[in-house]
Point group: C2
């Protein structure tokens, strides 16, 4: 691997001069030397060692992102927004997949700190796990204390700026849509109960039920993995326990797609026999049949805003940016009365 010293030697200049030319310092250098150095760079195919640079200039440029899984479309969308803003600012982003493992999440905070990132964005849902939250808090605090910036999507209990999707409100919208149009027995296909996303969305559904004088008994809530197969599985469990459901809310669109598969498999017409509402409005929602009613969250924008917060290092109290949820009516749900 060619080093700066090699380049300097070949060009017959000092490393100092070579460095100045290569990394564009403001200091003036003759065109003559400049040309010699650039030629040497070209001939040696020299690329500066980023780690040495980082060590020498005390300037951190990369940013870190911790998500549950980039290949999950939900996070893919968010990540797209994060990337957009980061690249616009000339920042490299390091993406870490925690695969919903709190321990791994903790490790990644260390790793990003070790990488000297300028900011860390936590894009995954929070956990209901006091010990873990405390540990995470302390690690993040240590990081911010040394000048690192933190921003999170959701989970307000952490230090740093936050982008707060209206999960509760979104759950409420979905619930209200069903309960106010005659549905009484509504099942919920829910993600893991340890995730705050799950509980927040559920809380909204409960509020909607309450307002319509209904309830959401435990047997009408099935928890499973936050993906397609989890949705299929939970829906099967739900239908077995309460065959008389007239509507199902899935707590994200992936699960809703799984629900659709199970319903189709059992020959249950959607929305004829059972109405279905998803959550997130991922692009697949338009493409399944029937098209999925869902609660839209502007995922890409959420990512972009979280990164903007992380990169904007003005002091001051932690900022919280709310993000609105809006109900999208499509073909998979209908009033019960219309039967």
């Amino acid at each position: 691997m060619a080093t700066l010293a090699d380049v300097a030697r070949r060009a017959g200049v000092s490393p100092a001069t070579a460095s100045r030319i290569i990394s564009g310092s403001t200091k003036l250098v003759t065109d003559e030397l400049r040309a010699r150095v650039l030629r040497a760079v070209d001939e040696l195919q020299y690329v500066p060692n980023a780690h040495a640079q980082l060590l020498a200039r005390a300037q951190r440029t990369a940013v870190g992102v911790i998500v549950h899984d980039v290949s999950d479309p939900y996070f893919a969308e968010i990540t797209r927004g994060l990337q957009q803003v980061a690249t616009a600012h000339g920042r490299l982003v390091i993406i870490c997949n925690s695969y919903r493992d709190p321990a791994r999440e903790l490790e990644y905070v260390e790793l990003l700190r070790a990488q000297q990132v300028a900011a860390i964005v936590l894009a995954g849902s929070g956990y209901h796990d006091a010990a873990f939250t405390k540990a995470l808090k302390s690690k993040l605090a240590a990081y911010t204390r040394t000048g690192g910036r933190v921003s999170v999507i959701g989970r307000h209990e952490l230090p740093g700026d936050a982008v707060m999707p209206a999960n509760e409100e979104g759950g409420y919208l979905a619930g209200a849509e069903l309960f106010t149009t005659g549905h009484r027995k509504v099942g919920v296909v829910a993600g893991p109960r340890v995730l705050t996303t799950t509980t927040d969305r559920l809380a909204g559904l409960r509020r909607a039920a309450r307002e319509s004088g209904r309830t959401l008994p435990a047997k009408r809530i099935a928890y499973a993995g936050f993906d397609r197969d989890g949705g299929a599985e939970a829906t099967a469990a739900l239908l077995d326990a309460s065959p008389d459901l007239t509507a199902i809310v899935a707590l994200n669109d992936s699960m809703a797609v799984g629900a659709l598969a199970t319903l189709r498999e059992r020959g249950i017409d959607v929305p004829g026999q059972v109405s279905l509402i998803g959550f997130d409005d991922m692009s697949i929602a338009r493409d399944v049949t029937p098209a999925l009613s869902t609660v839209r969250l502007p995922l890409t924008e959420m990512g972009a805003r979280a990164m903007s917060l992380a990169l904007d290092n003005t002091d001051g109290p932690a900022r919280v940016e709310p993000v609105e949820a809006v109900l999208i009516r499509r073909a998979s749900s209908q009033p019960l009365t219309s039967r």
Copy 2:
């Protein structure tokens, strides 16, 4: 930011000893000192500077991956495989999105080289662009010359090991399925013509046509972006140009989903009036209605194998691992004769 020196001072030992304890050297150290150092680490919330470590031990540990876009499900799947293997080997992976911009791809090779990655995996399709390919080749050669490893998915003309999906064969399978069951006018919804993936798959389709004594005239091939909206757009163009098509092949599943949307919009029954075959067998293929016939490529496995190749640094000639394509028959296609 606490440094190793701070820890050493607090523990009353030399930096050498502290380093040995913290990064687990084989050298023996008394339990007494060990305890003091670990306590200091804990109190100071010390995390070693990864860049300084990298500079000191001349040992590269991260690996780089260049894809078109992680949030595209095709690459998300591949990336999942890449990550799995990398994490199993204790490697950090740096993901770079080129967004199908050759210039950016070139830049990222430099960047990864600067980051001293142990290997670079190129997971995006190749381009038909001689100047670019030459530039890329030379940059990669400079990298391998200094001990870096390169592996690519597809595009065999680059140096290094390769995982070669059977794109041509897959195109052939899709084409044969249609041409041998009575379809004569088959349209193609294709990705950008500069991508080798597009041309390889098309070549397979052409071969199938030829074998059945048919052709694939230019007017029955519509090129567009390799995503859902591109598929919708290309399908519209195709139908306008040739209203008498009885089948369409989309060169990936995202485009197929877009095609489905356009067909539905125009009230054209699938597969009643037009048969549709996609490519890749992404999970969405099962979930649209009708379920999509498609050519399956084991994407996650391809990623895993590419990373394995990249990480296995035995010398020798470049290895090429072929990956088979298999036709999956679902509801979106049927023989023409059955009408």
